[in-house]
């Protein structure tokens, strides 16, 4: 199964400026962790995201679209990075996630693991014909049904 692993932003990751020595050490630790994931054949893709100041939110309200420029107030809801892992089950994903280095040394930070929808999950409410029917195609692109 595929999971997406989100790293939530911390106060430190949401701040601008040159990275501190601690941050550089944290990057290096993360590189070593990703290397382990790659060697285990688990790592599929991943990226770090720029902080909230560079983000835009689009509010869809009926037919109206409103754009809100970052930065946003609640840092902890922001996603600082993500990666996609191929694992056997959620237990394996958890076992790996627990090995991840803490990007905010000495502080609290959060990760979230979300399994992808797969064909088997959709089978209950989508017929095989619908699954196979051509559609705009965007759903197929990340390997979801």
């Amino acid at each position: 199964m595929r999971v997406m692993v989100f790293a939530k932003a911390t106060e430190a990751s949401a701040t601008d400026g040159p990275p501190s020595p601690e941050a550089l050490e944290a990057f290096a630790a993360m590189d070593r962790f990703i290397e382990e994931l790659v060697k285990a054949g688990v790592f599929v893709a991943g990226a770090g995201l720029k902080n909230g100041a560079e983000a835009k939110r689009i509010v869809l309200d009926g037919t109206r679209r409103t754009v809100i420029d970052g930065p946003f107030a609640e840092t902890r809801e922001l996603i600082a990075g993500f990666s996609i892992w191929e694992v056997k089950d959620m237990d394996e994903a958890l076992a790996w996630a627990k090995r991840a280095p803490n990007p905010a040394a000495g502080q609290k930070s959060e990760m979230e693991i979300r399994p992808f929808y797969e064909a088997a999950d959709l089978a209950e409410f989508v017929t095989p014909e619908e699954l196979a029917a051509p559609r705009d195609g965007e759903r197929g692109k990340l390997g979801v049904a």
Partner: protein
């Protein structure tokens, strides 16, 4: 279930998941030490049992792999001591153990240094050419992939007994040949790598051949093969063919969702809905191929991957770079000559340079024994003739192809094409 029990079950799941991550490397290290796959598996299993009783109390250690290995090695040494028959080996291991004042620390250091190498040694041993490809596949799935015998049997549409026997025989053959679980070096490595790649690709194809109604374990083989390919690429970052195989599997797997219709019929590559291709896997495949090409790869898997990439890069079937495909088939024919490659080469040339070019190449291979009664040959000829406007000849070629195929759906398709030749003025 009382809360305590479900907590305990959750803890056990977590420990088993950690164990699964470490298992292959653990077995690899142990197998090199005891020179016996069975014994290595037992020792690893013993270490899990100890972890299940200790970790709930002490917590998961910082380096669980080293912890498990230390336990298993201690067990191995105890086993040697009990076993008088292995007195010599006992001394060897006891000596190396004595040399290390702090065994666990030394083992930990060895883990950091060497484990990749040991895992690679296990892969090369399980895929040793003294074993048949089927035996290699079963053993690799068992000891490297961590699949159960039952899962392997279901995946290969075989019985559990048959697979278990195959694995037992493979282990015996390895013991009899006194294989050392080492990574071959130099020329021997070059000579043995194909038998590793062959097995991973065999596992992949077995999964790829599965149809929608099949047991989920079967398509799961593709994921397992891709994982093995990715591991191998991590362990052998300088080998072009390893990246070629990885690229080939990633790109083929990217078409998984698009290659069958709602009725289960196989949809040909050129007619698939390309929006349903997995673009993440295509990206990975193209990256792996780029790596292989940087390494100067021009072997069987790199060329196959390059062919797959030509299709993956084309947003629409009409955008396919057929002249590049034709050139790649020219090279593939030199590396891995086969009548089927010749046929595909003729098709590629017909798409790139017109039907007459295809017909010329078909004439060269028309007498090949292996292609006698091979329906795709007259089917291709029919297609070239049709496109060249030679409808009467095309019709009889399609009819010949229809009479050769055993697949009802294919026969209907070919008869329809034959009929279409008459419909035209």
């Amino acid at each position: 279930m009382p809360a305590g029990d479900s907590n305990q079950a959750a803890t056990h799941h977590a420990i088993e998941a950690t164990f699964r991550i470490e298992r292959a490397r653990l077995i690899a290290g142990l197998a090199r030490m005891v020179r016996n796959v069975d014994r290595a598996e037992e020792l690893a299993q013993d270490a899990l049992v100890v972890a299940l009783s200790e970790w709930p109390r002490i917590g998961v250690p910082d380096n669980p792999g080293a912890w498990l290995m230390a336990i298993a090695k201690r067990r191995a040494i105890d086993g040697f001591r009990r076993d008088k028959m292995r007195e010599r080996k006992h001394q060897e291991i006891a000596r190396s153990q004595d040399e290390n004042a702090d065994g666990a620390a030394a083992i930990e250091a060895a883990l950091d240094d060497d484990l990749g190498d040991e895992l690679l040694g296990l892969i090369f041993t399980a895929c040793h050419p003294i074993l048949s490809p089927d035996a290699r596949a079963a053993l690799t799935l068992k000891v490297v992939g961590g699949l159960t015998t039952d899962e392997i049997a279901r995946a290969f549409l075989s019985s559990e007994t048959a697979i278990a026997q195959r694995i037992v025989r493979a282990k015996k053959a390895i013991a009899k040949a006194r294989l050392k679980f080492e990574v071959p070096r130099g020329a021997e490595r070059v000579a043995r790598l194909p038998s590793v790649l062959e097995v991973i690709y065999l596992i992949f194809n077995e999964g790829y051949a599965a149809t929608a109604g099949d047991d989920l374990v079967r398509p799961g083989l593709c994921l397992e093969a891709q994982r093995l390919g990715r591991i191998l690429a991590g362990l052998m970052p300088e080998d072009a063919e390893v990246f070629g195989l990885l690229a080939l599997m990633e790109i083929q797997a990217s078409r998984h969702n698009a290659r069958t219709g709602p009725d289960g019929a196989v949809i040909p590559l050129t007619e698939q809905d390309r929006a349903r291709w997995d673009h993440l896997l295509i990206r990975r495949g193209l990256d792996a191929l780029a790596r292989a090409e940087v390494l100067g790869g021009d072997g069987f898997y790199v060329l196959q991957a390059a062919l797959a990439a030509c299709h993956a890069r084309a947003r629409r079937a009409a955008d396919t770079d057929w002249s590049r495909i034709a050139a790649l088939y020219d090279r593939l024919r030199a590396v891995a000559p086969s009548p089927v490659v010749d046929l595909n080469r003729a098709i590629a040339h017909s798409m790139a340079f017109g039907p007459d070019a295809g017909l010329r190449l078909l004439d060269e291979i028309a007498d090949a024994d292996t292609l006698r009664d091979y329906a795709p040959l007259p089917a291709a000829r029919g297609d070239f003739l049709f496109r060249a406007g030679r409808l009467a000849e095309a019709r009889s070629a399609f009819a010949a192809a229809a009479s050769l195929t055993r697949n009802a759906r294919e026969r209907a398709f070919l008869l329809a094409r034959a009929a279409a030749c008459e419909g035209k003025p």
